[in-house]
């Protein structure tokens, strides 16, 4: 499998919203999708990362990132229903806002990457903390659109147990892009500057938890 070629072709096909071309490229990447969903995920994630990086550079628009992620999610869902029985280790929420685009893009990209995710929708801090604990998730991804809600991540982290918490928290959204120190200020474990970074962040945070889990 020559991933760089696939990735580039796939990114272009996604940006063109060319469903047929995307399917053809995915078939080329893995002729037997039912047996090799992981082989499909890799080029898809890399193509979406390429699109995300282009957006960060100012070469693409948010609408293109969204539409390509949505198409990916649809086609990956058709290729192989992902992880229906897996216990989600990851949850996703928008903090105190009804603007859900960022969360929707992250959800599409994670699902395309084969990550099972609980979607909490738009929630308040107390609700988010309670649901994360109840569901036993290990990573919470928080999207914030306004400075006031971004600052509430600090309260979320306190409710989850502060520095002793077992749940890792990653943040994203405009305030964190424009203020590059903000994620540290609120005590988050990671920040995503584009939705495409989500699979790598989730993998890193889950991996970081494993030694601690093993020592218990």
């Amino acid at each position: 499998m020559t991933i760089p070629t696939h990735r580039h072709d796939l990114a272009n096909a996604l940006l063109e919203l060319d469903r047929v071309a995307v399917q053809r490229i995915l078939q080329r990447a893995s002729p037997n999708p039912a047996a090799a969903i992981a082989e499909l995920e890799q080029p898809v994630v890399e193509a979406l990362q390429e699109i995300g990086e282009a957006w960060e550079r100012g070469d693409l628009s948010l609408s293109q990132v969204y539409m390509s992620a949505r198409l990916c999610e649809e086609l990956m869902g058709e290729s192989a229903p992902p992880l229906a029985n897996a216990r989600p280790r990851v949850a996703l929420a928008v903090l105190e806002d009804h603007h859900l685009l960022g969360k929707r893009m992250v959800l599409s990209i994670l699902r395309s990457a084969g990550v099972a995710v609980l979607d909490y929708g738009s929630v308040g801090v107390a609700d988010l903390a309670a649901r994360a604990v109840r569901d036993g998730v290990e990573v919470v991804l928080v999207s914030a659109l306004m400075l006031r809600s971004a600052l509430k991540v600090k309260e979320l982290i306190e409710r989850l147990g502060g520095t002793a918490r077992s749940v890792r928290v990653a943040v994203g959204g405009a305030p964190f892009r424009l203020d590059t120190e903000l994620w540290r200020e609120v005590g988050a474990d990671a920040v995503g500057l584009s939705a495409a970074e989500a699979p790598a962040i989730v993998a890193r945070l889950l991996q970081a938890r494993e030694p601690a889990e093993a020592s218990r």
Binding site: M146, R148, L178
Partner: protein
Amino acid sequence: MTSATLGGTSDMTSMERVLNTLTGKPTDRVPLFLPVTLHGAKLLGLTIRDYFSKAEHVVEGQLRLRARYGHDFFYPLSSAAAEAGAWGCEVVYHDDGPPNTGAPVVTRFEQISGLAVPRLDECPGLLRVLEVERQLHQRAAGEVPILGVIIGPTSLPIMQLGFERYLDLLSERPELFERLLQLNEEFCVTWANAQLRAGCTAIGIFEPMISPAMADPSIRRRWAIPSMRRCIARIQGPVVMHGGSARMRGALEDVIAAGAAIVAVSAEDSLEEMAAAAAGRITLVGNLNALDLRRWGPDEAAEQVKRAVAAAGPGRRFILADNHGEIPWQVPDRALLALAEAVRAHGGSA
């Protein structure tokens, strides 16, 4: 109306300073557009909800804010949510931030067929803004520009439908979006002209969808740019095109061609590059990072003002401002005072 406290070196009024900037004539210093809205509630000791509930509060807040920081505009905006409220969206108040919209009102695309343009006289939130503008116009006595605000017709659907459903609408039911766009344009032009009649000097159109960072070229070419042109042609006063933090470099030529008087520069744009590309054909406003402003003391404020003035270049057509169009509630008084002092000290030198 006394001259602004920032005036310092001359008797130039804020209006003269701004008009000279717009026409490329000399000024004593760069004009400062400090879009303070919520901070009026702090000065009056009111909650944000109470503050915006009466026109008199906002007028008093704007007067006190300008007396304290000496900036060059009145800014009667209550919130973007107030406009969405005219379309039936819930306006949600917070104690520590701007009013926000509740859940979108258009939950099914088919609802668009039944929508009608809201009547201004049936929108209490907007009537209150008009009353603020009328009173500020009297108090300004022609010496202070007043900037009214509308949300652009292709950005209003972000609140009407939610952004992701809006993008779905564009790809799945463009004919319904055409209808929504017609309604939105009618509303926006009516709302803008009502504000000009109430005494506003200019209208800021917050239209992130003209930014290449937000909308892809097909959306921009088919809808956002033609809509901007139509609106500017019908609005009976100068227009500021604002991306609400979104990069505007890629939209600059379209904004100039549409006839806007001023274009906002994002903190993510290079001000130097924008100034070079604009080449005096339009006035720039920006591009201080409003979120970073929270942490500024006198040194950082001085450095940022000097950077911006130098980047805008000599003989500049430039108004110093934040990049978002609203100073966050969390920006402390000391940071705003530091910025005001920095403009006084360094705003005249390029």
